[in-house]
Structures are given as C-alpha cells and as structure tokens.
Symmetry: C2
Subunit: 386 residues, 2 copies
C-alpha cells in the first residue's frame, strides 16, 4: 500500500473505526474529521470568509461547473486562484459538477465521452469531459479536486446504476491520468490533490465493485458519492461500511452531501474523515436551528417572546448577542440579518461538534460522545422546553 | 426661546451655518451632524447591530407602522423595547409611518381624524390617529419619535399641499399633547423625545407657514419632511434654508430621506444636524459604491478583474479584505455576501464622511471640506480610472 503523503492518522478510537488525522495540502493543513460549508460560487450564503475564520472553519467546497459558467476559471486563475479570489486562508475544495446532471435547467445528456450541459447565460451547449473538468479545477486553483463522476439516483434501475459505476470508473482513470499530466512539472507541495468518487446506489455488490475499481487508482483521497439522497441512515451507513473497508486505510475518506449531526457522527465512527452539505445553511434559513439540546424549530409560536439565545451552551457571537425572539422575527420577515444570524450559528455549531468529536476520539471517548449526541437528537424534534 | 435640554451646540462654522452638537437622550448621546441607516424592521438589510457598532454608527431609524403590523409594539415592549430587541446600544429613532401613505398595498385613505391602512396579514383595516401613533412609539420604546404627518408629493396641487400642511400642524399639536400626557410621570432623562415634521412641497410660502406653525409647539427637534423626492438639489436646499431659519436655532434639525454625500454636506452647511436614507444601502445592492474618489459603478466591465479594494482610502473590513472583482461577481450573482460587503462599505463611508464633516466644522474648515467632496462627486460618475 503506497504511503499517502497528504494524510497522516494521529489517533484511532478503540471501540469504533473513528480516527483523527491531519490532511495537508500545499501550505495548509486541517485536522480530520471536518465539515465543509458549501460555497458554490466562492461564498457561503450570508457568510463571508472572515466569518468562516471567526468560526474556525478551515475548508469549504465550491462548484467547478457553476464557476466555469460564471465568472469562468480563467478569471479566477488570472486573479490568483480561488483561495485568493474569496480571501480564504483555509482549504478550497471543488466538486466536479457531476451533481449538476440533476439540474434540469443545466443538463442535456451524457455519454461515455462526457456530459453535455446548457449554458443558461449564453445560448450554447458546453461539453464537459473528464479531462476538461480536470483542467477547469486546476485553473480554479482549488487545493483538492474531485473526479467527474456519473451519479445515479436511488430510484434508478440496478442496471443503470451498474452502468454509472462503470462509467464513473472509466472517467476516474481519465481524470487521474490527465490530472497527473497537467501537474507533472510541479513539486509535490504545490500540487492540487485529487479524490476519486465512488458510486453504487444502495446496492452492496455495486458499492463493492465501485470501491474495488477506484482503489486500484492511486487517488489522494476517496469520496463516497450518491448517498445522503433520501435513503435511510441504516442503508447509508451500510454502504459507507462496504466502501470504507475496501479503500486504503491511510487515505482520507469523504462522505459527500452529509450534514446532519447524527449522520456525521455515525459516519465518523465508521472511519469517514470529511463531509460537506447544505444541511446547516439551508436549515438555518428555513428556521431549523442546531443546538446542544437538539433541533429547535424557531418558527414555533413559543419562541416569539423567547429572550434566550438560540443555544444556551453556545458561545458564538449570535448566541452572545441575539435572542430567539429577534432571530425568529427577522426570519419570518425574510430579512437578510435573520438568515445571517441563523446560518452563522448553525455552522458554528457543526464546527464545534466536529471539534468535540476529534477531542473525544483522541481521549478514547468517541462512542460515549456519539451516543450522547444521538440521544439528544433522537428525542422528539424541538424537545427544548422552557 | 426655551432652552433645549437634549441638544447642545459645541461648535459653529464661521463661513457656513454648519454646526457640531451633542444630542442626548436617556443615557445615550451622539455628536451631530450624523446619518442614520434605515432599519425598518429593526434590522438594516444585511447588517447586524454588531456591524453597526463596528462602523461606529450610533443611531438608526425604524418604522412605527411596519412594526405595529409585525411583530406588534406589545411584543417589543414586553421584551424591553426596540434597543434591547435588536441589541443596539445607539439611539433608536422611529418614523411615524406617515410615509406609508404612499404604499398602495397598505394605504386606504386619510381624513382629519387619522389614516386608514390595510393590514396585509389579517383581513382588517387599521386606523392610525396621531394619538395612536404616539402610543405605539412609546410602546416600541424608541429614543426619538416622529409626529404623524401628512406628506404631500411634489406633483400634488398647491391647494392639496396647503391642506396637508394644515393637517400636519393639527396632527402635530395632537401628537405633542398626547405624547406629553403619556410621559407625564417620567423623569426627563427617561423620556422619549419628539420631533415635529414640517411639510410644504417646494412652495416657499407653504414651507414658511409650516415652519412657523410647528415652531409654536415646543418640540425637542424639527424634521424637514417631503423632500429628497426628486426635486433638484437647489429646490431642496432652498426649502431647507426657509424652514431652518424659522425653527429654533438651539433645536436639532433633521432632513428626512437625504443620503447622497453632496446633499448631506449642502444641508449641513445650512445647519441641518440629522439625516436618514436608504441611499447607501439600496445603492450598494444595485452596485453603486461610495468612495473617496466618487461613485464607483461596480457593474462596469472594467472592474471584473480589478483586484483593488472598493476604495483605496478606506479602512473598513471590506476594503481590507475583498477585491472589486470578488464583490462585483457576488453582486452579479445576487449572492447575499455581495450585498453584505457592498452595504457595509457604503455605510462605513457615510459614517466616516459625517465624522470628517464634524471634524472640519470644529477646525473651521467645513467649506473647504464640502467643496472638496463636491468636486469629487461632480466629476463624471465613476471617474475612477486605473
């Protein structure tokens, strides 16, 4: 097994497969497991890069295809790359844009060669091949790139999911080859890293096949794609277990699209190291607040006059300065400040949850920590009473 | 002339009528002249009360009628008043809501007794009398209240504007009487202050009459209403001069709705002490940036790759951390972060402009300062070249 130069495991939990590691890329490093807010267009909704720094967030994920459309990778390249463009000192990850195959306004069709997209701004089509996708991500200058994958949905036939697995493997080979070629003259500490993405729906045999095929390619990290799409958490974790057992132990493992606190901890206990999701930001805007006492549905009547902070155990600037009543009112009025305050808090909560998870793993107490958080969230939603 | 207890003039300019004063209300104080961002629903769009503190903003204005609709003054009263509700340490001013007579979705009709509004949330009408308006503002707990006025528009007939002036005076008397009664048991340092609002369109005789009538009532301050509505700046300043000459010299004077830098400085040179406007916030969202070199239209093509800050002479967090190219991209994408960054900068710019104006007045150099700024803004818009 080839040694991974970008990832080092620092601590392993004894009762679970949870581990703490250090992921290094260029001059940046981050402790795993970690959660990445979604900054599709190089900005998290309502949250600036300074806000991310304030909440000790050290990685975000942006979208290659969306940025290719506007402002274009050449502009970002010319201005010094994505990190400089958004003034973010942390790790910039880019997703390939394969996910946009489920955006009816953008997707046309795909074949073995690549994906045909519509450009919604200009009246033309765009053909994205695995090679093209690598070029765009190199130009964007993100620290970690994702392979272009073909993601099936859960309701697709097993035959179609099998085809998607095979195509994803073929594309992964092409991505790796082209990505290596594009960076062959760079020193290893200047290189963008590349993650392979595994698929397979909720079929054990296909998940296994996908993991086996991808593991033969020496990626810097491995992503579990095509989950967090509506399957049960048991189905999701069963797929995670299968693929995690196959990919190299010393490579970082990224469960794409997961952001629910319990989901994160379950995946961490199975050895997953990285996550991203719209969960905390989208839920904040819709009035679901993550707290140390569980989910708080801020739109409920009882919070209209509640002068307590969103979370009494949180020390974020929102909880130190604003009441549930104020945030609820601003959210009901669809005022930007309401979105901002709720979003900041939810992200801060997840950053702290990850920090606590890392601490628990190091202290050999992760299982207890996970069970404690699960118990809180398994109580009826919004169980916080006065 | 009765001494005003809330306002003290500290310095007067010799070449103009500009002055620096201290306005005190409850335990708060602010140096005049100053500009108030608009926080209609107790939040400036995209800007929290902590942001206001960071930009050294010490007063904001909210809307009585809008807050009466939602969340209702009783809720805000129960939670400790508007300042506590929004966690703002500065001075909270409330406008009466007379302006909503130009909101077709809210206004029904008005007569000598008061204004009939629609409640867009419940299927009922709301009758706002001067007395009711005072009660709402007392309940909101703002530091400075405005009388309910009848504001004519510029195109209204002189006869209609005359009627509006007379009605505004009658309502001002009723406001003052009821406001006094509601606070008769309070100590003077606990009291909400009350400003009378003058009208008169762009008719010199009506402006004179309105000022004379209002001056007979001992308000804590006087507002010039019904301007900044599309008249020329010469017409506007001519009306300001007429009314400012009539109202008591030792009372604060507030030009409602003015927010253009040159307009502010012209009014200050005529003795105006307070301003509010959506100008800096709305313009920010529409891509017009206020800078030490004039207006910058960020949507212009030349700024797409411009890595300079919005204003090279500005030390706000936006100018220290983000480029024109990034802010332009986020604004074109209608991303909240773009709105936030542009809005923060524009407000910061105006706060600093007011600070510089106060400094110039104290140093006896206001005329030079005003002329310098005018010269910058009179150059063609967006004259900032590379």
């Amino acid at each position: 097994m080839k040694k991974s130069s970008c990832f080092k495991i620092l601590a392993k939990d004894k009762k679970t497969k949870a581990r703490v590691g250090i992921l290094k890329v260029r001059n940046k490093k981050i402790e795993t497991p970690f959660f990445m807010p979604v900054a599709t267009k190089t900005a998290v909704k309502h949250i600036s890069s300074l806000d991310l720094e304030e909440m000790n967030c050290k990685a975000v994920i942006s979208n290659t295809f969306i940025l290719h459309l506007r402002p274009g990778e050449q502009l970002i390249k010319e201005l010094g790359g994505i990190s400089k463009f958004m003034n973010f000192k942390g790790i910039n990850v880019t997703d390939s844009g394969g996910f946009q195959m489920y955006s009816p306004s953008l997707y046309i069709k795909s074949d073995e060669k690549g994906v045909h997209f519509k450009d919604p701004f200009e009246k033309k089509t765009i053909f994205i091949t695995p090679e093209k996708d690598m070029q765009i991500q190199i130009d964007l200058g993100s620290d970690i790139a994702m392979c272009l994958d073909t993601m099936p949905l859960l309701h697709h036939s097993k035959k179609d999911i099998d085809l998607a697995v095979n195509r994803t493997t073929n594309w992964a080979k092409r991505c790796k080859q082209h990505h290596d070629k594009l960076q062959e003259k760079l020193k290893s500490n200047q290189k963008q890293l590349l993650w392979g993405i595994m698929q397979g729906g909720i079929h054990k045999d296909l998940r296994k096949k996908s993991a086996e095929q991808l593991s033969k390619i020496d990626f810097d990290g491995y992503s579990i794609g095509g989950l967090a799409l509506g399957e049960t958490i048991e189905q999701e974790m069963s797929m995670v277990e299968i693929q995690k057992a196959i990919i190299p132990e010393n490579k970082p493992c990224y469960l794409m699209g997961a952001g629910n606190p319990v989901e994160l901890l379950e995946a961490i206990s199975r050895g997953v190291d990285m996550f991203d999701s719209r969960f905390p930001t989208q839920n904040a805007r819709h009035g679901t607040i993550l707290t140390s006492e569980g989910k708080l549905r801020i739109f409920r009547k009882e919070y209209s006059k509640d002068t307590r902070p969103l979370d009494k155990n949180c020390d974020c600037f929102v909880c130190k300065n604003y009441t549930r009543a104020y945030i609820k009112y601003q959210l009901t009025q669809e005022e930007a400040v309401g979105y901002r305050l709720a979003t900041f808090h939810n992200l801060y909560y997840l950053m702290r949850l990850m920090e606590q998870a890392r601490k628990a793993i190091k202290a050999g107490k992760f299982l207890e920590f996970k069970n404690k958080i699960k118990k809180i969230y398994e109580k009826a939603d919004d169980s916080i009473k006065k």
